[in-house]
């Protein structure tokens, strides 16, 4: 089911995941789905979700590229992250990577938010 990574960043592979962040994005009351889907940061908080998407696209994008295809930092596309363990990626977001310009984002992101970002990146990050 995990065939060629989607060229479009709006086409995540796993329909369940798509459903999840779609629900998050819309901030709609798909309560049952959202509740069972994951420990997402405040599922109802569409504003915070939009802020996170913007943060990744715009601020992480300063180094990783707004299309997440890489820059000074490596690519963060679903394909590039496919073989990277989720927990290690979450740890990198929160703790940074010593010896590189990747900073620890712990002071700006909660663990749930970092996990949401990693899951969303692995699924193909939303455009906005």
């Amino acid at each position: 089911m995990r065939a060629a990574a989607p060229a479009s960043m709006l086409a995540p592979v796993d329909p369940r995941k798509r459903h999840r962040w779609f629900a998050l994005l819309a901030g709609t009351a798909l309560a049952a789905d959202a509740a069972t889907a994951c420990a997402a940061p405040a599922a109802a908080d569409a504003l915070r979700t939009r802020a996170l998407v913007r943060l990744v696209r715009q601020d992480c994008g300063a180094c990783h590229g707004m299309t997440l295809r890489g820059g000074l930092g490596p690519a963060l596309t679903a394909e590039a992250l496919r073989d990277k363990p989720r927990e290690a990626l979450v740890a990198t977001v929160l703790g940074g990577r010593p010896g590189t310009p990747m900073p620890p984002w712990r002071s700006l992101l909660t663990e749930d938010e970092a996990a949401w970002i990693v899951d969303s990146l692995k699924a193909g990050f939303p455009a906005r």
Binding site: D59, G61, A62, M66, G70, L72, P103
Partner: protein
């Protein structure tokens, strides 16, 4: 009147009188139509990073003139201008190099020259534009008229099989370019006396992870900030035989590694009198450095991690913007009084600031408010706003006449 023009438009058997009348009609038509004569010295562009477009702006009218679209991925785009200030060369993240006519607001030419690019520059004589690329790492030289590729200089290092990302490309006097190799820790100069065969001089061991560089306003020194260690790598372009020296041994994040949420940009290093004002890396400070001794002579506490520290052209004020989470603030430092004199909130996510050539206005892009705020630098009050979609870099044509921009 250009007779060849008239004849080419009206060839054949027309008599001279008729030809004259017809030519006048053409000129009158032009004057009455859209193509009024105007200069470009007060124009500029605002990069709309998310939509791959530019807004062409007029700093006299403080207005947008129109939009140019189809420029690709403009996250971290850079713009330089032809020496007649009519054309903008836009370097996009996706390797696109686009030549835009500011008067007609059309794309003149566009090439995809790399997979991942970070900017570019234009030669002293205006004949060549040079792109600096992450992938494939290196620089490429183009004819500024046609965008024909003239040379490819791969940034190879180690045993020659690896290529480094190139950062901090700057033009220097003598039709030279200077740049740094992020992965290799080297500084290279390229002399374009023969543009198809640039003569490259390598300076190895310049320092770990140079992340940006600049040429000082008079074009003498190339300075590269280092991420991997403290200090700044400096090359005296008047005396390159002396090699790369290390200055400002304490410049960097020091022993206590602080998170750096956005790499500071060096291009705006403000130089006022004999002092330079630099963004401290990861600290809430602006450093003051004596440019004759290259010794630190002071530190200015500021609101957040500085990104751009830019002097008003008369150097009386230094304007500072910040990384997350303080990127909604801008501070103004008075170089005579030696203190911060204004704390401004021009909008959310202020990414860039650009002064008009003589400094009476400064334009600030507020990315998350989708607008550009224009401030009067004497009153420090906002005087106008221009709508733009996720605006980032602002570039005025006065850059065409400056070294190292």
């Amino acid at each position: 009147m250009d007779r060849r023009f008239a004849e080419s438009r009206f060839p054949g058997t027309m008599k001279r009188g008729a030809l004259l009348v017809a030519a006048c009609a053409v000129l009158a038509g032009c004057a009455g139509g859209g193509a009024r004569l105007r200069g470009t010295g007060d124009l500029g562009v605002v990069v709309e990073r998310a939509s791959g477009s530019l807004v062409v702006v007029d700093t006299t009218a403080r207005a947008a003139l129109g939009r140019v679209e189809g420029l690709g991925d403009l996250s971290h785009a850079h713009v330089v201008f032809s020496r007649d200030a009519r054309y903008a060369f836009v370097f996009g993240r996706d390797g696109g190099l686009t030549k835009v006519d500011l008067l007609t607001r059309t794309v003149v030419r566009r090439v995809l020259q790399a997979g991942n690019s970070i900017g570019g520059s234009i030669s002293q004589d205006g004949r060549f534009v040079v792109a600096q690329n992450y992938d494939p790492g290196g620089i490429k030289v183009f004819d500024a008229g046609t965008l024909e590729q003239l040379a490819d200089v791969p940034a190879t290092y180690g045993d020659g099989s690896r290529r480094s990302k190139v950062v901090g490309l700057a033009d220097a006097p003598g039709n030279k370019f200077v740049f740094a190799l992020y992965d290799a820790g080297e500084i290279w100069t390229a002399d374009l006396a023969d543009p198809r065969h640039p003569r490259v001089t390598r300076f190895r061991g310049a320092g770990a992870q140079p992340y940006d560089g600049l040429v000082t306003p008079q074009g003498r020194y190339y300075l590269a900030g280092l991420f991997g260690e403290d200090g700044v790598a400096a090359l005296d372009l008047w005396r390159p035989e002396l090699g790369v020296r290390r200055i400002l041994p304490n410049y960097g994040h020091g022993e206590q590694k602080l998170p750096v949420f956005k790499m500071p940009h060096l291009r705006g290093w403000a130089i006022a009198g004999r002092n330079a004002y630099l963004p401290a890396v990861g600290r809430h400070e602006v450093l003051v450095v004596d440019t004759e001794t290259w010794q630190e002579v002071g530190r200015i506490p500021v609101r957040g991690q500085p990104v751009f520290v830019i002097a008003r052209p008369d150097a009386r004020q230094v304007w500072i913007n910040f990384a997350l989470p303080d990127n909604g603030w801008v501070q103004v430092y008075d170089t005579l009084a030696g203190k911060i004199v204004a704390n401004l909130q021009p909008g959310r996510a202020v990414l860039h600031m650009e002064f008009t050539a003589r400094g009476e206005q400064v334009w600030l892009s507020a990315r998350d408010d989708d607008r550009v705020a224009i401030y009067d630098t004497a009153t420090l009050a906002p005087v106008a706003t221009i709508e733009a979609e996720s605006p980032s870099g602002i570039f005025f044509t006065s850059r065409a006449a400056r070294i190292g921009f």
